[in-house]
């Protein structure tokens, strides 16, 4: 005969006990559809209001930096694709830029133009898919995400026909790019860029004036400019607070000073501003793309002095940074003259933008946490490395 529950343990508290005044701790994630990967937040709730939030990282940690210190300089290039797998082209560029700084390598003009074109295409597809994901987090399941993915796929097809792979491009090399454009690529790319404003108009009509979207995003997750600067936030998230800081203007790396473009700035720093920032940045990216495609010169795409095998930069250290779609992406390298770096460090924008998640979320409801997290724009491959 079985023993009853109440005979073994103390009786459970009666069901009438209330949680009034007490915090309830729940664990959101790591397998939550809106955490963009494996990311956990320990949230303490009072009713539905967030009172404490603790992000837990590391589920996708795969030793990127340590691997970078044990493989050759070239061998780290395909691994950088896997950092932020939405924008492998900009990751490649940031890494190539730091190694070029370290070894003092010149890049031919055509390669620089190609890099600008590819980086801006990356920005287009990253921002488009981010908007789709953000709306999907807000409950607009399917439709906006599929529209965004439709456009993204067209750009990824361009990447595929150029580099051989949709997402893991592994295209840039120290001192240039790996291969020249295949025949007909430029015409296709021009067509894609010319058709992109049509998608943006449509997408804006779909979302921008939508009352539900406005109610869900305006004055949610407001970030002050002061906190943003102190926390080292970069990218569209910083500019949404009204801080005019764009590395394309500040550093002027690549050939960005040659192009005419504006830096859109937000005013309130809330989720709506962050969302609109992406739309406006896409419009500016199209401007840059059109100018770059116009000016693209003929010539070599690779510096012939750079060795592929047994590449050894001189002793020294270098920090190369670019304005990635998510913010400042930097690589810090120390060379001891050997075939692999002595120290290899990544400054990932989405990780540093995520550090102030608690400040953004306090006082909002659980449902808003998803929107705020979506508007930060993270990719876990880069956060955990």
């Amino acid at each position: 005969m079985s023993v009853g529950f109440h005979e073994l343990e103390e009786a459970p508290p009666p069901m009438t006990a209330r949680l009034e005044g007490e915090l309830m701790e729940i664990s959101m994630g790591p397998q939550h559809p809106s955490t963009h990967g494996v990311f956990r937040m320990n949230v303490a709730l009072e009713g539905e209001i967030v009172r404490k939030l603790k992000p837990v990282f590391g589920y996708l940690h795969r030793n990127h930096e340590k691997i970078g210190e044990s493989t050759s300089y070239l061998g780290s290039m395909p691994y950088t694709d896997r950092l932020d797998y939405f924008c492998s082209m900009t990751n490649n560029w940031a890494y190539a830029l730091s190694v070029e700084k370290l070894a003092g390598i010149e890049v031919p003009e055509r390669a620089e133009y190609l890099r600008v074109i590819l980086a801006e295409l990356t920005r287009l597809q990253n921002h488009a898919s981010l908007l789709g994901f953000l709306l999907s987090d807000m409950g607009a399941w399917g439709t906006p995400l599929m529209y965004a993915f439709r456009e993204r796929e067209i750009i990824l097809d361009l990447f595929e026909s150029l580099s051989g792979s949709r997402m893991m491009c592994d295209y840039m090399r120290f001192g240039g790019c790996r291969c020249d454009l295949p025949p007909g690529w430029m015409e296709r790319a021009r067509k894609v860029v010319d058709a992109f404003p049509r998608f943006l108009d449509e997408f804006e009509k779909l979302i921008v004036s939508n009352e539900i979207l406005i109610a869900r995003t305006q004055s949610v997750g407001t970030l002050s400019a002061e906190l943003a600067i102190n926390a080292g936030i970069t990218g569209p998230m910083l500019r949404a607070c009204g801080v005019n800081y764009d590395l394309r203007k500040v550093d002027g790396y690549g050939f960005y000073p040659r192009f005419k473009f504006r830096v859109p700035l937000g005013e309130h720093g809330d989720c709506y501003d962050r969302l609109m920032m992406r739309v406006l940045e896409m419009r500016e990216s199209i401007e840059i793309l059109q100018q770059a495609m116009e000016q693209l010169p003929e010539g070599p795409i690779m510096n012939p002095k750079v060795k592929i095998r047994a590449f050894k930069p001189p002793i020294g250290e270098a920090y190369g940074r670019i304005e990635g779609p998510k913010g400042e992406l930097g690589f810090y390298l120390i060379s001891d003259g050997g075939p692999n770096p002595y120290r290899y460090r990544v400054r990932p924008p989405s990780f540093i933008n995520l550090t102030i998640l608690e400040d953004l979320c306090l006082g909002h409801t659980v449902a808003d946490v998803m929107v705020i997290l979506g508007s930060v724009d993270i990719v876990m491959g880069e956060v955990d490395r």
């Binding site: 061998g75 529209y147 790996r178 779909l206 009352e211």
Partner: protein, 179 residues
């Protein structure tokens, strides 16, 4: 008016839905196993070994120099060099790989082995349906499975293969002149 934004959005959805019946570029899904898109010339997935002439064992361009094994970022290549020399496709005695294994489950198709190879012996394939019934040994591709003819290479990457052939012919010519 409250609600007009929502209705505007609905109009966009409706236009896309109806447009998919008339405009080709609004209907984007490819029904994969039945329908296949042609792969781009540059598409790459998993390396293979090129051999010239008819015989796969004799015509391998690989001379077991082990550079790709050393440079491979995830270390998925295993080469064991032969002790004796065999005449290669040009008739010159060369070492050859006694064992040449690539692990599909480790390879990340990064193309670095192709770039570092000084003999144009390893190239990227376009196959992508690589799943196997077994988890371990079946995923290790040996020399026999990896070897594919130069003709096959010309089929999958016509432009690149032509450039490589021209380069090799030039090198052979230069060598002949020297001797």
């Amino acid at each position: 008016m409250i609600g007009s934004g929502v209705l505007n959005g609905m109009a966009v959805t409706l236009r896309n839905f109806l447009g998919s019946y008339f405009e080709r570029d609004r209907l984007t899904t490819v029904q994969y196993p039945e329908e296949r898109e042609t792969l781009a010339e540059n598409y790459r997935n998993f390396p293979f070994l090129v051999y010239d002439t008819e015989d796969a064992a004799a015509g391998l361009r690989c001379v077991a120099c082990k550079i790709c094994e050393k440079e491979c970022p995830p270390q998925c290549i295993l080469i064991v060099k032969s002790e004796d020399k065999k005449p290669d496709y040009l008739g010159k005695p060369q070492f050859y790989p006694r064992v040449f294994d690539i692990d599909i489950s480790v390879c990340m198709s990064c193309q670095i082995c192709v770039e570092v190879c000084p003999f144009e012996a390893i190239k990227m394939d376009k196959i992508f349906e690589l799943s196997r019934r077994e988890r371990f040994d079946a995923l290790l591709m040996g020399k026999d499975e990896l070897a594919k003819s130069n003709l096959y290479y010309h089929n999958i990457h016509p432009l690149e293969a032509a450039a490589v052939d021209a380069k090799l012919a030039e090198a052979a010519e230069a060598k002949k002149k020297k001797t």
